[in-house]
Symmetry: C4
Subunit: 125 residues, 4 copies
């Protein structure tokens, strides 16, 4: 069965790490996430560039999504080449060596009840 | 009127069954859902494969969506060939014998106020 | 400027009118909505068919979205040929005489804090 | 690397600025947002038209998204040629001189727990 599904480049125009959390533990900590599915038979070498409103882009952030695996990456965890600041508007561009599928999710627990958003990313080629 | 609408393969990169609930009853139990519309005149034999970050895929999970019907499937209810674990990141690939439309929805009631997310799935062929 | 934007047929696989509300007034009443933009210069005659899991489709529900106008239609308000039941899973198919753009939104106020979801509908032709 | 990503025209059928807020400060004020990514090397001159249910369109609202930058625009902040009223249903059409990517997000803090929704906008050319 054909399993190379998706596109090699995806854009997410929304991005924001809520600067506070009220939940307990990592699961309920406010976070901004890229969910990446690599349903194919080759590992995906993925590069993420982060765009801001008032400075040049950050990155590239590099990650491998192995064949037939998913990774849900939190921008909160990005360290190299620099952390992504909290409470700041950003966008991201995701580029992969093989076709992948990307979805964007935020959990916001700034107030004492969490909120969620999610959308398929936009395939750009 | 032409009623075969959609695609035969869809991907959902996000997936997570919240491991706790505060609501009462099935309606408010935290759940992760695939909503499938079969607007056509033939039953859809649907196969779902679930991808994880640290192990090989699970499935295939098999379901029939009859002609001119919808089914809103909870990953929580999947049993064969194995349950989908709660509190674990996953993705899914949906494959059908006829065109369908797929949307992904989560209800998260871990905190004492529910949160919702939803997105159209990504058509991959 | 070209203003006929969108497609003539759209599908929304998710659908559910939460059966209870805690908010006050129409704005905070739990509702399931189709938002339709007709940016063109001709009125759109729109037909909506609602699909269920355990019975045949309901409809057609008919509405006009005038040229250069938007309408945010609540399934809660549908009356002819029959109301859409609350607390029941459904999907919908939207068909128009001219190109439109459709987005699906739910406001759920069953618990004492509202939840929202939204997604672009799926263009099927 | 090719960096002109996206489309020149996008539609968002949903639009509503919640008329009240319970959060403190700008971050938690109820807002309706267009997130725009310009990953290209030329500034994007962007025009936004807002459609209503009971009157003609408002706009054009004009904004520049510089090359390799993002802007998250709140309809709440639109002033010229006229403010966008709160508590009113609307849709929007976004047109740019260069390819961009558009995502639509709402933060609703009318009740004492915020709610979020987001979706990729619909590319119309």
């Amino acid at each position: 069965m054909k399993r190379d599904v998706g596109h090699r480049r995806w854009a997410v125009a929304e991005g924001y790490i809520p600067p506070r959390s009220t939940g307990r533990g990592r699961a309920l900590e406010s976070h901004e996430t890229l969910c990446i599915l690599n349903a194919g038979n080759c590992d995906a070498r993925v590069t993420i560039t982060v765009y801001f409103s008032d400075r040049g882009p950050a990155g590239p952030y590099r990650v491998v999504v192995p064949a037939r695996r998913t990774r849900h990456l939190r921008f909160n965890d990005f360290r190299k080449p620099e952390p992504v600041p909290k409470g700041v508007d950003f966008s991201s561009l995701v580029e992969s060596t093989v076709p992948i599928v990307v979805q964007h999710t935020r959990l916001d627990s700034r107030q004492p009840a969490l909120a969620l958003l999610s959308t398929i990313a936009f395939p750009v080629g």
